[in-house]
Amino acid sequence: MRLALLIVLLLLAPGAARAQSPNTFTTSAAEGGPVIEFTDGDFVLSPGLEIPTRGWVRAASPHIYRMHETHWRTGDYHTVQGRFRFDRGALGPDPLALYTASTRNQFIVFVNGAEVFRNFARVSDQKLAWYRPFLVPLPAGALKPGQNEILIRAVSEESVGVGRVIVGPNAAVQAFYQSQYFWQITAPMAANAAMLALGGLAVLVWLGRRREVELLWLALAAGLWFLRNYQYFAEVTPFDMALFNALTVYATYFATVATTAFYASFLKMPHRGPVIAALFALGIPIVAVHAAFSLSNLILYVPTTLIGLGGALLGLLDLRRDRTPGHVVLAIVVLLMPFAGVYDFLLAGGGSGWKVHDFYLTVFSGCIYCVAFLMVFGKRALDAFAGLEAANATLEQRIAETRAELAASEASRRDLVVAGAVASERERLMQEMHDGIGSNLITALAVARQQKQPDSTIKTLSRALADLKITVDSLEPVEGDLVALIGNLRHRMAGDLRDAGIACRWEVGRCGPVPWLDATNALHVLRIFQEAIGNVLSHSDATEMRIGCGEETRDGIPGIAAYVADNGRGFDQAQADRPGKGLGNIAARAQSLHGLLECRSSVDGGTLVTLWLPYERARATGDRKAG
């Protein structure tokens, strides 16, 4: 027994000797003097409340005893004491402060044997300080010139250790502390609170839109990530440390599966249902094995990382087809997540040589994920609103169009009714003229011819019939086609012209429709031309007659000029105080047409009768719309 003690003492001797010398540190300049961070310290695992005089081992600082390395059981108390010596003279004259982080979990700080700080009020406090930074002002009275000793005693039911230890001017250390506190505690807390709120929002939205299952996955992922991240900003464990620890570790796996499930749902991946179910189911044996055999957390983190990499693959595939901002942000987050997980794992001490106090990434990823998705969802909602507005606008426009169409069709229906009435009245008149006057005239003419009645009788009857035919022609709907109207007259009179031995030349140019050429006006036109042609037949002794029409603008008003010209004997206009036979009559008709009638004739020079009609008749001159 003594021998054994001696051997232990001999083994510890160099360490003990070294333990007397100041510890090593790095120095950085700050306002008010240098700031030092210890790179080694003297450590001892001791269960007692006393400061042990022996057993100190110099080791690199920070110095954490982890559960899987020490094979402790969660729930047992483990105590470590860390001692750091420095020369007061190496630091500036300003009041000093100590910064420590990851000193877990309950700890007391002594300066030269005097207690200056403890982070717990009662021993029963379930303190959670594995990650938390602390600022400990060092009272001037506790310090002395020359060598000073800081001792940190940490107690934990879980991994225990003394983390970073930094000493320097109060102002500089406090500033450092504040920035660390913000990035390590405040920001993760805010991000995770926001994430939880967004998860709640997702549930609310899902209640309104049950088909968007990804909202539920998102909410579940948010809840699980919150559970997993709670350790980062919790000050005390909310319940039993072992259970809290287990939940924290296991939540990582399920949160990753839920996130992947959400992402697969969001991307509408085929066969996602069975895959998600299988991944959740796989979690149960993993958790069971991990819990039963107290295995390393790696058994959970490796499949978690693989699932994360699967999600990242989905992200890569999605990036290839959809580059809209929401999709890109989501894809980037899922791509980075597994790497962030590995980084955080190493940071937390998964591998030696890593700092234990730095900025963790995964603690923010859930929140970024939620924000990214809600961006996509919000965009979708905004698009839907815009679509709705556009649809409303389109609908309104359609309604307006339909209303206009309805009004137009109603107007045209009314027009049709009027036109129908006109047509039916016209038909009745036609029938009347055909079967009544027409037939009687025909019979009379036939009888007269058979009985070889005097020519004058036959001519009178013929003329009456010809007049009637022209009246009938004027009733024909020609849609303002003056050419067809005059052409038809010429067609009617072709036999008479042939009998009179007058060759007829038809000289027709391009003419547009005359919109106001209704039955009444058509009759005026026909009568004018009937008269003019009749004059040629009866009085001119002409051998040739020309009938024609063409577009002509008079006084800037576009219109049509139609004419009848013959090469007959003509008359002296100067001597004729009245126009030729019937010309006065047709002049009056021309006037009522708002047209211009011209008659030019000279002895042996033939006669030219021209009727000019405007395309548009000014309303002021009295537009007659015959029904």
């Binding site: 038909e427 055909h434 036939a446 009637l468 035919k469 009733l475 038809n488 067609h491 027709v508």
Partner: protein, 214 residues
């Protein structure tokens, strides 16, 4: 010898036509009818080349008689006998199968000439009727076009266009450098196509309204 049958209710007109036909060496009056009932029997019996048909008969419309005659498929030329040759009546008759018209007040020799002309293959037309036909062939471009069962040839369209602009057959012939007979033939063909189309349209209407069984 052109065998002619006459359907006309006015006895004066009927006699007038009959005696004129009888007076022509190249024509033979085979039958006359004064109303639809008589005319139906006459059509059933057949035996004529040209049918002159009045439209306003005391017991019905001449249009249905024209259709009956047309549907027999005989090589009969049907001429409508009309007072005014107004477009509605003439076009109805042409759609039913007529190939031309005679004006009742036309001098009788012109009537006989028209009978010979129709037998030679030529039909008469007025500018207003030509215009109306043109409008039917080239309808409102906005309206959905119903494909014509027998579309007009380019030349027929050209002829119709000229006629609708008031040119006489002779003038059309001169412009198109063809004979006057050719123009008449074109018109007759246009009438034939109008009849075919009107029948196709009637079928179309009927089938689209489900009147015809599959």
């Amino acid at each position: 010898m052109i065998r002619v049958a006459v359907v006309e209710d006015d006895p004066v007109m009927r006699d007038h036509l009959s005696s004129a036909i009888g007076g022509c060496e190249d024509m033979l009056l085979t039958a006359t009818a004064a109303n639809v009932a008589e005319a139906e029997g006459m059509i059933e019996a057949g035996g004529y080349d040209v049918l002159l048909c009045d439209l306003g008969l005391p017991d019905g419309s001449g249009v249905s008689l024209i259709r009956t005659e047309a549907l027999t498929g005989r090589d009969t030329d049907i001429l409508v006998v009309t007072v005014f040759a107004n477009q509605n009546k003439v076009l109805d008759a042409i759609r039913a199968g007529a190939r031309g018209y005679l004006l009742k007040d036309e001098r009788i020799e012109d009537c006989m000439a028209a009978i010979r002309e129709i037998r030679r293959g030529g039909s008469p037309i007025s500018p207003i009727i030509a215009r109306q036909l043109l409008g039917e062939i080239r309808p409102d471009p906005r309206a959905p076009a119903r494909p014509m069962a027998s579309p007009l040839s380019e030349r027929e369209y050209e002829v119709l266009n000229l006629l609708s602009r008031g040119f006489s057959n002779a003038e059309c012939a001169e412009i198109l450098t063809v004979s006057g007979n050719t123009i008449g033939t074109h018109i007759k063909n246009i009438y034939r196509k109008l009849e075919v189309n009107s029948r196709a349209e009637a079928l179309f209407e009927a089938s689209s309204q489900g009147w015809l069984s599959r």
